[in-house]
Subunit: 167 residues, 2 copies
């Protein structure tokens, strides 16, 4: 009667969540203390830095981030307040707006990425063998892909490799 409480599948899922929580906590602490950025700020700034002309529609940004539309609005509000981002109305469709990276925001993310990569190297890369990393990637891709069975079919698949890059 107790056996179901110790099912090995629970253990695998628990391990997944525990590893994630620990990794996220460590990385976020480093980003916060050394760069003054939350994970969400880092992610948004990174996406904008990669984008053509350092700008993205709010809608495009939402699709690349782990946030709801309203959540993104709030994050961009704060980034704008901090001077890292500016909003710009979309000329062709005046309902929409762009988030645009400022030079200050660009400097910030340029400084943050190498630091973040160092942390990644320590906590994720160096602790795994090349085989481990490959196997991890394969498994994670399968899990991720099995999750989007009916959401945004085309764009999601062609954009999968870039969409996979976060934090």
């Amino acid at each position: 009667v107790e056996t179901v409480l110790h099912d090995e599948r629970l253990a695998l899922a628990g391990l997944f969540f525990e590893a994630h929580a620990g990794l996220a906590r460590t990385l976020e602490r480093g980003l916060e203390t050394e760069c003054g950025l939350s994970a969400q700020w880092f992610e948004v700034l990174l996406r904008l830095a990669r984008a053509h002309e350092q700008r993205l529609r709010m809608q495009e940004l939402v699709a690349q981030v782990t946030l709801t539309p309203s959540g993104l609005t709030r994050v961009v509000d704060r980034l704008e307040e901090a001077g890292f981002v500016e909003r710009e109305i979309c000329a062709s469709d005046r309902r929409g707006s762009f988030a645009v990276l400022t030079p200050k925001g660009r400097d910030c993310i340029d400084a943050a990425v190498p630091i973040h990569l160092d942390h990644l190297e320590e906590t994720l890369i160096r602790v795994l063998s090349a085989q481990d990393r490959d196997a991890l990637q394969v498994a994670l891709e399968k899990v991720r892909d099995a999750l989007h069975p009916h959401e945004r079919a085309q764009v999601q698949s062609i954009d999968a490799s870039v969409a996979a890059e976060e934090v």
Copy 2:
């Protein structure tokens, strides 16, 4: 100059976070709609169900859950309000208190676990081969273990296998 923005290590980390976010979102939705439980509620109830006499000190519970002490206090507050848990003062050390699973709470988690296992089967187990799962487990364990270099040395290690089981 743009190359650092597309470092493959960022992609692996991003894939990790994306897979986690998707998995967590899906599982939490199922738990919420079919069992009326948040991930935190499920986790606390599961730990208590496994524990001797269905009870655990708040401190022990904190060590097993992804929450701060104050966060756990709030969750137990709500679980108590819902009738799933009761508090009990510790006789030997009157500073401490136990969280005790009620029969109602026990029934709830007993019903929830099989449902959750079904969801796990669909989203995590069935989408991976046996080799994938083994490799995933190995990699996640390495990442997790590399994260606790100086935190709670002994108890953590002997308790690692059980502490790994969450949500």
